[in-house]
């Protein structure tokens, strides 16, 4: 909001306040920072940032009050400026009348008549000052209202009196179906929640927002009715928002105008109009009143002032002086001040608000600075955050980069192929839409992180990366929540995607191996290891359209709790996401991880030598490693310490439909050196029992 230093000087001696720089410093301290200053020959234009609680500072008089209070200087005498202009002829009351039908929403409505004006421009000083604050000079009548607005902060409106049917004004609710062409030439359909100013026949102004075109003053206007009122902030805001209108008037009324400023603003506007365009002012101000405000009184205790400020140096003498300078009336009562709050400070309601007023004048920079003395109860972390942080660390250590992706998706385009996964996680039978999306084509909240992550992977590949490894920790959303528990719509997720070559060095001599399912599964195993040992994870093939059949799996705990999925992204999903190369991806349900500490016990180390034995068998493909290893465990081989899959082979030399698996078995006794023959006999026993399984054979 722009202010003219020259205009401010009408109310406070700006030279004595330190000129532009001094004023700027004072307003900073007041909490009205000056964004920029434009210096002109006779003036300086200040661009001030005014928070929505301070409509009182949205005029030169109000801003000057802040400057004076902060500078500790008196305001200049300005009563004459707002004094009633000398009138002649019939009184306003004889010429027109006002009816307020909504006294809570229009608490005061004032009007003045200036008759017999000529269509002339405003005086030079009015035009100059309006131009300085960015208001385009229009005509003597319009400029008079605008000037009074920028002077007092009170919005006004000028009607062509002769165009008002019946020569009267009625403040009422709009009727359904009524229409009004506003000053901007747009026809507005009104609703019964809107308040209008009407003449005997029709609405002539959208209350507090914009006047009507039909009754606006023009060069031909001779008789002008000036109007200033107080409008209910919430009502103005609702209507303005619905119609997409934001005006100087609505901006102030939404924030709360000063009901006491109405007469002075009308007097000033009438005199300016008279000066520029001649004519005569009808004697008397027509002042219709709705439901009036009561003056509020609040006590300010010294103890509260010192408690909140933490400053023992501030006393009530200072507080009282500061409040008076800001326009409050005070009365000392021992260790407290009884304060009457002026109506222009609707933002000040309670004691702590008064503390702020006093401290603004005192200066926040003068307050002492220390750390809270109270003993801390010790810090705790929300448990899932810790899980998420550990997942992220492990993923970063595994070579993946963390991303943050927008959660706005289209269910069909982005998540259709993941439907089986969404169904399994029970999070999103239907998508959760936004009522006012940024982009109508992405109006749903994501139910899985994977499509967004795959899009990020595709972006990297498009930009020339030969490989990419990404992850994200975030939330997904589903419609299956309970509306009174917003958190129930959320699911915390971890997702990753791995694609293409992962070259890490200029001279790695070994051949690059394309990523496969086991890289993806390995990532999941490593990530979950702090809570679930890899051997305690259960993997089962998944049927999810976005994953390749046979190369995607669901992972659960031994107890059957679903933890996530991982696999090779299917051709169909890759096509949708624009991925030309194979991509492996997975998602973990963070909330499902049994995040209590995993029981951990130290195992005795044996100093005895181990004996290893390799066993190769050919078997049908549908005998899984999980079944095979369960079988081995079930044989209870003496001194078997561990075993793992050493190799898998299918191809020439192995019958079709079969695969050759080599198992490496490690035997060790804790207390003595094992004899080779004992190991051999156990391996023979295992081989014999395996041979009994259908389709299992040894040798080539």
């Amino acid at each position: 909001m722009k202010f003219s230093l020259d205009w401010l000087d009408d109310f406070v001696d700006v030279e004595a306040a330190g000129g532009v720089d001094g004023v700027r410093r004072l307003l900073d301290r007041a909490g009205i920072p000056i964004e920029s200053v434009e210096r002109r020959a006779e003036d300086a234009i200040l661009e001030a940032e005014i928070t929505p609680n301070r409509p009182d500072a949205m005029g030169h008089r109000g801003l000057a009050r802040e400057i004076a209070a902060m500078a500790g200087r008196p305001m200049r005498e300005f009563a004459a400026r707002y004094a009633e202009p000398e009138g002649s002829g019939d009184t306003t009351e004889q010429l027109t009348s006002i009816v307020i039908q909504v006294p809570h929403l229009c608490r005061r409505f004032g009007a003045r008549l200036v008759l017999g004006t000529e269509g002339r421009p405003a005086t030079e000083i009015v035009r100059r000052r309006l131009a300085a604050v960015g208001a385009k000079p229009i005509s003597a009548a319009v400029d008079a209202t605008n000037y009074a607005l920028w002077d007092t902060g009170q919005p006004l409106h000028a009607f062509d009196f002769d165009r008002l049917a019946g020569g009267l004004l009625i403040v009422r609710r709009a009727r359904r179906g009524e229409r009004l062409v506003t000053l901007d030439g747009v026809e507005r359909a009104l609703e019964s929640s809107d308040i209008v100013v009407a003449d005997a026949e029709r609405p002539v102004s959208l209350a507090g927002i914009m006047g009507g075109l039909d009754t606006a003053v023009t060069d031909a206007t001779r008789n002008v009715l000036l109007e200033a009122a107080w409008w209910d902030p919430a009502t103005v805001r609702r209507t303005a928002r619905r119609l997409g209108l934001h005006t100087d008037a609505s901006h102030r009324f939404e924030r709360g105008a000063d009901i006491d400023a109405i007469p002075g603003a009308l007097n000033l506007a009438a005199r300016l109009l008279l000066e520029a365009a001649g004519g005569a002012v009808a004697p008397g101000l027509l002042d219709a009143q709705g439901k009036l405000f009561r003056i509020r009184r609040t006590a300010l205790r010294l103890s509260r002032l010192r408690l909140l400020s933490g400053d023992e140096r501030i006393g009530l003498d200072f507080a009282e002086e500061a409040l008076v300078r800001l326009g409050f009336s005070t009365e000392r009562k021992g260790r407290r001040i009884s304060v009457s709050i002026p109506l222009f400070r609707a933002d000040v309601r309670r004691e702590d608000d008064l503390v702020e007023e006093v401290l603004r004048v005192w200066g926040y920079d003068r307050l002492p600075s220390r750390l809270p003395a109270s003993a801390s109860a010790g810090s705790v972390q929300e448990p899932l955050r810790e899980v998420e942080d550990r997942l992220s660390d492990a993923a970063a250590a595994a070579g993946l980069f963390e991303t943050v992706n927008y959660p706005f998706v289209d269910r069909t385009a982005d998540e259709e192929l993941w439907a089986d996964w969404l169904r399994l996680t029970e999070s999103a039978p239907e998508p959760l839409p936004l009522a006012n999306p940024l982009d109508a084509s992405r109006r749903h909240l994501r139910a899985t992180l994977l499509p967004g992550l795959l899009d990020a992977a595709a972006r990297n590949l498009r930009r020339g990366a030969s490989g990419v490894g990404l992850f994200e920790v975030g939330r997904s959303f589903g419609a299956a929540g309970q509306s009174d528990h917003p958190e129930s719509y959320e699911s915390r997720r971890f997702a990753f995607a791995l694609a293409g070559e992962r070259r890490s060095h200029w001279s790695f001599p070994e051949k690059l191996r394309p990523a496969d399912f086991f890289d993806a599964r390995g990532v999941v195993e490593r990530l979950l290891e702090p809570w679930v040992a890899p051997k305690d994870l259960r993997w089962k093939p998944a049927r999810v359209a976005a994953l390749t059949e046979g190369a995607g799996a669901l992972v659960r705990t031994a107890a059957g709790e679903l933890l996530g999925l991982a696999g090779l992204v299917s051709g169909a999903e890759r096509e949708r996401r624009g991925l030309a190369v194979p991509v492996f991806a997975g998602e973990i349900l963070v909330g499902a991880i049994p995040s209590g500490a995993k029981p951990f016990h130290f195992r005795e180390l044996s100093t005895m030598p181990a004996i290893t034995a390799d066993l190769s068998l050919t078997h049908p493909m549908d005998l899984t490693w999980e079944e095979l290893s369960a079988f081995v465990v079930g044989r209870n081989l003496a001194h078997l310490e561990s075993f793992h899959c050493l190799d898998r082979y299918e191809g020439p030399g192995v019958e079709g439909g079969k695969i050759k698996t080599t198992i490496r078995l490690t035997f060790r006794a804790v207390d003595r050196t094992l004899e080779q023959e004992k190991v051999n006999s156990e391996v023979r026993r295992l081989a014999a029992e395996l041979s009994a399984l259908p389709g299992v054979a040894f040798g080539a």
Binding site: R237, L307, D352, E382, V404
Partner: protein, 350 residues
């Protein structure tokens, strides 16, 4: 006179060893010729001992032993010398261009937002704060009403809200700030309280270099007996100095947030010019970094904490903005594109 065999042997040996050897083969041949167990010239010399008359054996034996010692010693030295030369040559073969880059184990990295968030968390954990969390999908009650934003209040304009299209008693929305977690934590735990809440927040902002509909904040809340503005000032000063480095000064100016009273805009020494004034700080030497204030008594009353017994302060700052300032990248959009070339730059920061 028949030549003295010992002198002859020594002469021949000295001549040969004088020529030196250049390969292991030459050395082995030399060694074998003189010291070889079967046909070596030195064992042959001792074999000759038996053919001598007994009276000469003593003197001959002594001289032969001396010759053997000399030859053995010389061969040992030559062997050691050869060993050194060979080792040096092996080392030369292992030499590399040490200016080539090392084979670093591959690693990924945390997002710059995470890097900054963890720095901030570390600072407050050391000050005894807990870390709390709340849902990103919130309702109007927690996001606005309980924080003293009346319905139809212009203060809501600054936080253009993404609304969830789902009927609910209190309208559902994506939280516009982390402050609703203040309400949740105070309702759950009451006072006293000392916590921070890092998290993702949403506003209906079109994407450009300085705006994003998704961004990140850290909220702080302390409620206890006797908490004052002085405590707020000290805490923020300590925090910003820890985050941006020693000598970072802070400045408080009044401002308005519905849920605090008094409310404060916190500026800090411009990190680009260290306070001298530059285009980034519009010549003021200060840059705005966070908002703060004393918890509004209505907010406390709303969560059944007596504002006469307890007071508190709250603060909030944007993690994205801190990352932008700290790392000097020009465009917020980089944070949300997932470009590995951008992300990899922060791998060393975590």
């Amino acid at each position: 006179m028949a030549s003295d065999p010992i002198q002859a042997l020594l002469g021949s040996f000295r001549e040969e060893i004088g020529r030196g050897v250049s390969t292991r083969g030459e050395f082995e041949r030399l060694k074998g010729r003189f010291l070889g167990r079967e046909k070596g010239l030195v064992p042959e010399l001792f074999a000759r001992l038996k053919t001598l008359p007994p009276g000469e054996r003593g003197a001959f034996g002594a001289r032969a032993n001396a010759a053997k010692t000399e030859i053995e010693e010389a061969v040992r030295r030559l062997g050691a010398e050869l060993e050194r030369r060979e080792a040096a040559s092996r080392d030369r073969a292992a030499a590399v261009d040490v200016t080539l880059p090392g084979r670093r184990p591959r690693r990924g990295g945390l997002h710059p937002i995470t890097v900054v968030r963890r720095r901030i968390e570390d600072i407050f954990l050391r000050m005894g704060y807990s870390i709390a969390d709340g849902p990103e999908l919130e309702n109007d009650f927690h996001n606005f009403e309980a924080l003293n934003f009346p319905p139809e209040h212009p203060a809501r304009d600054a936080q253009d809200t993404l609304l969830v299209d789902r009927p609910a008693a209190s309208p559902l929305l994506l939280r516009t700030h982390t402050s609703p977690v203040q309400i949740r934590e105070m309702r759950k735990h009451g006072a006293p309280l000392r916590l921070i809440v890092p998290g993702r927040v949403y506003r209906k902002d079109e994407v450009d270099a300085t705006h994003s509909p998704v961004f990140h904040q850290v909220e702080g809340l302390v409620v206890d007996h006797g908490i004052s503005m002085a405590d707020l000032k000290g805490t923020i000063a300590a925090f910003l100095e820890a985050l941006f480095g020693k000598g970072t000064k802070t400045r408080f100016i009044p401002t308005f947030f519905p849920f605090v009273e008094p409310g404060v805009d916190v500026s800090m020494t411009c990190i680009f010019c260290r306070g001298d004034g530059c285009p980034k700080c519009k010549g003021s030497g200060w840059i705005e970094i966070m908002g703060a204030g004393m918890v509004h008594p209505r907010v406390l009353q709303g969560v059944a904490i007596d504002p006469e017994e307890y007071t508190g302060f709250a603060f909030g700052l944007g993690i994205d903005r801190v990352a932008l300032l700290k790392y000097g990248f020009p465009d917020l959009r980089l944070l949300f594109e997932g470009d590995e070339r951008f992300l990899a730059q922060f791998a060393g920061e975590a």
